[in-house]
Symmetry: C2
């Protein structure tokens, strides 16, 4: 077992349910010797990934906040996304606007803003989303390259079936193709009860899917109001965001021909 893996087990222990751990608890939980845990904790603390609280307890440390800041400042999806969301937020009425990105096998929400008095949904920044439920995830999924989809199908066959996306490869493929043929996708209560969501894909300059832009609102609103104007705003916003990112990538590319542009691609 690699030592990073061991360290990660320590970090993994920290969750919303159990945010504070003592060394003794970690010794018990991870089945390792006391001295080793102390060494781990020391190193993680020196690196800022853990911080001491009173009474021998530890919590996640400031380094994480710092690294998150870096992501917020560097990722074009976030910097440009912020501008875009600010621009469209006044025009969408009650609801929440968020951007989800694909990183590895996770879809996570990387930015979110809401209009006052709207519903509270679980897509808050940093929450890993189910890859096969909700329009925000599915619209990304649908635009992944075929090869990647095959891999996903093989690894997540059960989840895909349960989410109603198809029990066989062909079925799955056809369902996704159907999604791909529309400029946006909506979903109802797939992730949170009582929530209607409307998502559009964000592409880079080469047609690769990068992210999704979503508007979530109470189902009641979706029942009584036409979605056409809203869909147009979201689709337009997603296009615009993709355009800005492509533009930035081009500039970055011109500066450093061999260095890859700081763009998150679906890999």
């Amino acid at each position: 077992m690699s030592s990073l893996e061991n360290m990660l087990k320590v970090i993994d222990a920290f969750s919303e349910e159990a945010p504070v751990w003592t060394v003794d608890q970690l010794v018990e939980g991870l089945a390792t010797s006391r001295s080793t845990i102390y060494r781990y904790v020391k190193e993680l603390r020196e690196a800022g990934f853990l911080a001491a609280v009173g009474g021998g307890g530890y919590i996640l440390g400031p380094r994480i906040i710092e690294l998150d800041r870096q992501i917020r400042h560097c990722d074009p999806l976030l910097t440009l996304g912020r501008e875009l969301v600010t621009a469209i937020l006044p025009h969408v009425g009650e609801g929440i606007v968020f951007i989800c990105g694909l990183l590895g096998d996770d879809v996570i929400s990387v930015y979110r803003r809401e209009n006052p008095n709207s519903l509270d949904i679980s897509y808050s920044r940093g929450r890993p989303m189910p890859l096969f439920r909700g329009s925000a995830s599915r619209i990304i999924l649908a635009h992944l390259p075929e090869r990647r989809l095959m891999k996903l199908f093989l690894t997540h066959r059960r989840d895909i079936g349960e989410a109603g996306l198809g029990g066989e490869w062909d079925e799955f493929r056809i369902n996704l193709k159907e999604i791909r043929e529309h400029p946006y996708l909506s979903s109802r209560a797939q992730v949170d009860q009582g929530v209607f969501a409307l998502s559009a894909p964000v592409f880079d300059g080469y047609g690769n899917i990068l992210a999704s832009l979503t508007l979530a609102m109470p189902e009641a609103r979706a029942d009584t109001e036409s979605m056409e104007v809203l869909a147009a705003i979201i689709v337009g916003g997603a296009k615009c965001l993709g355009g800005s990112i492509a533009e930035l990538a081009e500039k970055a590319g011109a500066r450093a021909a061999r260095a890859p542009a700081p763009i998150r691609r679906a890999v």
Copy 2:
């Protein structure tokens, strides 16, 4: 050298100036073999600390966003701080309100909100602050236990002198005592040009310093307006926040007598 340290060197490479790295660049930068770097990158990627972008480039990964989310949700300083800042923001006029916490030897801003059209300062969430400059840092510093201060003085003697806090231990001690005797502290352009800041200390139930609450504004405003009312709001807000945290800690303590309360203490 521990292997975590090696891994960390990889993470350290990623900065706002250089957010994207290829394996080759890392091999050169860290003076390690290609296969080792590939292994590091692989493990970090599997753990979600790095994510692949096009062309063999890597950026910081989603795990960091996830962990940051956990901190935001678990740390009482943040959850309660959010409420408090929301409450006082409408009453402070032009400027930025933020909370700084001490974790290890770092003071970092953990939460920040601003009123529209105000100045842009560098205290954005996650930014590590100089420990000896700015009222937000100094008010925390001043309330640290003596033993801790001695250590800090020994390790950071030069910084302390340069920041004008004293060249000798006695001088340093007296300066801090002076700060401690007032309910709040103000500073002018110590961190950012043209910025006036006003900070109050946040204590836990035992009188330990936990954090600082700060209002930053343009110097011009501070020159023309009396600070008394604003100081009262900030001092009151800090007291209130400390009270809520102590209350929460007590509740948590009742539930799990032996487990330390999830409270960040100056350690």
